[in-house]
Point group: C2
Chain length 595, copies 2
């Protein structure tokens, strides 16, 4: 009962009309081949592959899960074949460096493919997603020798990667890592310890698995300043690049999880496993964070992808499920009942799903384009500006989009009624799969602290201005535009709230970090509302102009959805603002012992 | 990792201090024995039973689920023994009529026991819950002969009951029922058709199952006016009350669901099964609705019960999980890290969970007491007043409390982080179990329509006044009370919004029912916020007075939680109000074809 076809029109609209992919990415050095036409071709090919190969495996994969026997993890039926096709289709190396066999395409295209993968099979997407993260970390931080050994195999997908951070006693607080690295005489290290929650930690899709492991050297200073990063391959690699002996790392258990059951979440036991140091000693966390920011954006796309599938499925069901009559009188007197899409309550839920999903897409691809500009723009000032914006918006993309993924998936279940609760119908799987995205790669609470405690104060507020300036410019440019008034006014209102809340935070938070902490979650939500309002107002502007070749109905629908967002969702920002301004008092009044 | 002990103090506070159980229920005719002391005894005994017998079965029951073989459904290991102990403990007949072997205790006590059952094992609670509903329907609508045959066995729990409404083509819209009832010559009926989603439709806990089935007689008028109600027992009952032949109803399938996996959700195939008519021909739906209102309140308690367990578990975890340091400096420098309860974000989530859960309890038991007064008060005007209030608040209890159950369970998972996503830790089960309560017994969207389309307009708004008057009186009595000002002011504000929204609805909704439909969901939420604000303000009043024998810290904590609700949750009502007043325009602007 899950219905999905890739939202080609909306992706085209967001990339081309709204964010000017042609002018802002395709024109960058090294992107000469990544034209708007190529974007279209990638889009259509990704849609075809994911709809035909990945979507049919999604529900069976959830039902079967992964299995572990004698340390060997098997993915559900069909995953191996699908992964091979995925690899052979060149999807693993899309945005990798041609020097290492990649196609060198912009990250924007990678994001686009990721959204469609997540819509069709989130569990499958975890495997190449992790490899992609490992690839980028090594490309940035590894030695030339390490790069030569590992990057081509990660780019062509014959090997995969992992991030081994979490241990039983530490998740968020990596200063508590206990895994040890003992220097060996040959310059390698012996890694010993237990890592948990390792996605793709063991599986049968690739010939080798490249574990990136945080561990402590014997002379490590305490806390996060004493963490080093190591490459620990499942199979050791010979001098000639061939696979050698099995390394001392085994999968000690598979987690039975709420969702993403076809994604193997492993306990990994390292027992004097051979590893090589990446980068400098004791500086592993910084390297890992490089990877984590990218990973956080990818997790945001997971929320977006699932929201899209939930929305499309709910629309299809609401059109076909006959139940009751329209409040204004029978809409289809020839049928035993009207389709439930006639009911305003259902319609309101669908509009909410639509407005959140399309808004999420507009935000995600804004950041995607900036990511490419941060990497490739010839002007260092432009690169800096783009990098600032990516840094600022990353916690928003991660937290807001994963909340949207979960909320929209739940609305989807609700529209299906009792049928949504039945596993065979596939809707409740979306909810279970979406739930993890709010947690991993830094819980959404951690994202809020990252925004408030790090991004706001960074470089004297420079990243913040990268967002405030374009919003202010847009407001100023359109303040007397009667056509846009219905969008500009609510944007101005929420922007004013965000500015006041930011000022309040800057004052209060400096003297008392608990004030910032107590406000952080609601502040992130208020910020997201403002970003969505800005993007919906810009969407309205573009839709009035009907810039590109989409059907008039497409632009009409955009305007209707923008109005719904402004009038029926955005008002929530007043409650968020009030909650922020209430300060930490009510939150911290009760002693920890009194709960 | 799930932690629960029955919240005895809060239940006592809500029943005695806040709602004056002693003066308002124990003083009713027939409740002479149901003293405050008895309430305490029932509370403690229910807590003991549920904590010791039901809670340990909850997670294994989820893992094992029910099984179906040759039409026989087996509940998970331990359920049979627990049910026998439950029955032998007299819990099935607590609020049943002594004439039929029940204990004749007030429904308030039944509610109290239900909350604790739902906290410890929702799947288990479904079985006696359905029987309870069937009992009350038959007590109200069945013939004396039917009562004599069925009620004692339902009251003592040797038989159980079901509600057979839903069919593949109809859930909400029962006018579409296709199950047929053919009159036989002996005055019985032959029932033929398929019912789906039948909770407790087949299982191994009781000797017989009493199906209450909606079906159509050959001469039935179309739609909901043509539905009759039948008793169809699994085993036919002899003239002397003994069990006879197996009736023509078999379990054709068990649903594999998102949650409540130990509760058997059955496809039931009726093939010329023998049934007897309950009440008049073609008037089955009204009888069923009698049962459904009670069932809706019970479902609200499911949300409350799960919220309580999630809250307690999250508090326990937040106290023991060491991760990171307090923003204001190490709180436990002797430990490797501080417990996460020091973090304002975690604290804010816990306060939210606490405020919603305790508020939900205050609302649920307000209605419970009124239910007893509606049944037993000697003054018909008082009975009417209580009945009105129950009718008005039933959709709120169902929808708001099940939303709270789901939201609080999700906050619980979030506080556990990655560990919350792992099945063994039990937190994600709360989410999956809670999800159904927003759907069954009328989706929460249907509750909103019930409130707006039926309860508001009923008897020229009389039920509404039963809520508005006490709120207004409270506000007037306390408008110059400086101690209560911080609670009275926000209550006055949200009450004003509710009054304006109600007036708007009355005007708009009369001329255009789609306006009422588009506002309904947000209106129900605004109404719930107002009810919670009223109950929290009254809680504050009672807590200042420190009426009863609870510890001073208890009342201090109530005041702190009331403040949190007023300052950090209630502000959401402004967004709800704005969304309502936006009207149906933005919701209905997009044609059904344009989605």
């Amino acid at each position: 009962m899950v219905t999905y076809s890739a939202p080609l029109d909306d992706l085209r609209f967001v990339l081309r009309d709204l964010h000017d992919y042609g002018g802002r990415v395709a024109a960058l050095p090294g992107c000469e081949e990544a034209t708007v036409d190529l974007l279209d071709a990638v889009l259509e090919e990704a849609a075809r592959f994911c709809e035909n190969e990945l979507l049919p495996l999604n529900q069976p994969g959830d039902a079967a899960g992964c299995s572990l026997e004698n340390g060997v993890v098997r993915t559900p039926d069909g995953f191996k074949e699908a992964y091979r096709a995925f690899r052979e289709g060149g999807w693993t190396g899309l945005a990798c460096n041609p020097e290492y066999g990649g196609q060198g395409l912009p990250k924007t295209l990678q994001f686009l493919v990721s959204e469609i993968i997540c819509s069709t099979n989130l569990s499958f997407g975890v495997y190449p997603g992790l490899s992609h993260g490992a690839y980028h970390l090594l490309e940035r931080c590894a030695s030339d020798e390490q790069k030569a050994t590992f990057l081509p195999n990660l780019a062509n997908g014959t090997w995969s990667g992992t991030m081994c951070l979490t241990e039983p006693q530490c998740g968020t607080d990596l200063g508590l890592v206990r895994t040890k690295a003992e220097p060996a005489e040959d310059g390698t290290y012996k890694i010993t310890g237990t890592k948990i929650f390792i996605s793709a930690g063991e599986h049968d899709l690739t010939d080798n698995i490249v574990h990136l492991v945080l561990a402590k050297l014997p002379d490590a200073p305490p806390g996060i300043k004493g963490i080093s990063l190591f490459i620990v391959p499942k199979f050791l690699v010979d001098a000639d690049g061939g696979l050698g002996a099995r390394n001392g790392v085994v999968c000690g258990g598979l987690e039975d999880k709420m969702g993403i059951k076809a994604s193997a979440t492993c306990v990994l036991n390292f027992d004097a496993a051979e590893g090589t140091l990446v980068g400098a000693r004791h500086s592993g966390l910084r390297a890992m964070f490089t990877m984590m920011n990218m990973a956080r954006l990818t997790v945001g796309l997971q929320g977006l992808g699932l929201a899209e599938t939930a929305y499309q499925s709910a629309v299809a069901y609401a059109r076909e499920r006959l139940q009751g009559r329209a409040l204004s009188g029978p809409a289809h007197p020839d049928k035993p009942a009207d389709p439930i899409i006639v009911h305003p309550g259902v319609r309101g839920d669908l509009m909410t799903m639509r407005a959140l999903t399309e808004g999420a897409r507009a935000l995600a691809f804004w950041v995607a384009l900036e990511l490419d500009r941060a990497e490739r723009h010839p002007d260092p000032l432009e690169r800096q500006a783009a990098d600032d914006l990516v840094a600022l918006l990353t916690p928003l993309v991660k937290a807001a989009l994963t909340d949207i993924g979960f909320d929209v998936a739940n609305l989807g279940v609700q529209i299906f009624g009792g049928h949504g609760y039945i596993r065979d119908n596939g809707m409740e799987q979306l909810v279970r799969d979406a739930r993890i995205a709010q947690i991993y790669e830094g819980t959404n609470g951690i994202q809020a602290l990252d925004l408030v405690g790090r991004k706001l104060v960074q470089d004297y507020g420079r990243p913040l201005r990268r967002f405030f300036h374009p919003v202010r410019e847009f407001l100023e440019a359109n303040q007397t535009n009667p056509e846009l008034a219905e969008f500009v006014q609510p944007l101005a209102k929420v922007f004013g709230r965000l500015q006041r809340a930011t000022l309040w935070l800057a004052q209060k938070g400096l003297s008392d970090p608990e004030e910032a902490g107590a406000a952080a979650g609601d502040y992130l939500r208020l910020f997201s509302h403002t970003a969505f309002a800005y993007l919906w107002a810009r969407t309205a502007e573009v839709s009035f102009a009907r810039a590109d070749g989409l059907a008039p109905e497409f632009y009409d629908a955009k305007l209707a959805t923008a109005r719904f967002f402004m009038q029926r969702i955005l008002p929530q920002s007043s409650g968020l603002f009030a909650a922020i301004m209430a300060g930490k008092g009510p939150t911290m009044a009760l002693d920890a012992e009194a709960f």
